[in-house]
Amino acid sequence: MKFSDFVAVDAIRSHVDSSTKEGVIREMATALVDAGRIPAADLESIVKAILKREELGTTGIGRGVAVPHTKHPSVDKLVGTVAVSQEGIDFDSLDGDPVHLFFLLVSPPDQPGQHLRALENISRQLRDDAFCRELKAAKAPADIQHLLEAADNHGMVS
C-alpha cells in the first residue's frame, strides 16, 4: 500500500495549532471532515474512539512519530492524513520523546488488512531518517505531499 492510497491530500497539515494529544487528534479529524473524507456528523464519535484507543496504549511508536487510529463504521475505505508539529507534542510515546509526525488513520471495522498494510507502509518509510527529517522540516502541506509521493515512488518494495 502507498501513501497515495489512503492519505487525503487536502487534509494534510504542516503546522498544527494544538499542543495537546486531544487537540492534534481533533485538528486532524476536523481536517478530514473539511476535506470531505469523513462525515461532519461523525466527527465527535471518531475523535472519541481515537482517544479511547490511545487509552489502551499510546500510538506514539517512537522516533517522534505517532499513528493515532480507530476503526469506524462511517468509512468504507481506509482514510488518513498527515500532520506535522514543529514544536512537538507530548504523546506519552514509548520512548518518551515528543511527537512531531502524526499519521491519523480511520478504517472500516471489517477490514483489518487495510489498516495493517497502511501501518506497514508508514513504519517502513519511517525507518529512513532522512524521510523523517524532511517531513519535520516541511513548510507547507504541498511539501509533505511531495515527500509522500517521492516515498511512494522509491519505496516500491512491496
Binding site: S45, I46, K48, A49, I50, K52, R53, L56, G57, T59, I61, G62, R63, V67, H69, T70, K71, H72, P73, L94, P109, P112, G113, H115, L116, R117, L119, E120, I122, S123, R124, L126, R127, S158
Partner: protein, 105 residues
Amino acid sequence: MQDTVSREVVVGLKQGLHARPADQLAREARKWQSRVELVSKSQRVDGKSILEVLTLAAEEGTRLVVETTGADAREALAAIVRLFEGNFHENDDAAVDASGRATTP
C-alpha cells in the same frame, strides 16, 4: 553460549499483528539479552523494534518463525511464543471495536 532456537507461530489475532500487540511483542523481546527475530515468507525483522514488527503486516493466519539467539534464547523464545499463544490478551473485540458507542459500560 550463543544458542539459536526457533519456533513457528501462527498469528491468531483477528486484527492481525497491529500496533498494540506489536508494542507488547517488542517490549517483551527487549527484556531479554538475546537477539529476537521474526521471520516471514519475505523478510526477517528485529523483534525488539515496533517499527520493524509493523513492517510484517502479519494478518490473522500468517505463519511466522520466532528465532532467538543468545544466552537466554530459550527463555526469550518461550516468552514470545506465549504472547502469540495467548493472542496478546486480545480478541476481546468489544474493547477494541472503537466506535466509541458500543463499549460504554
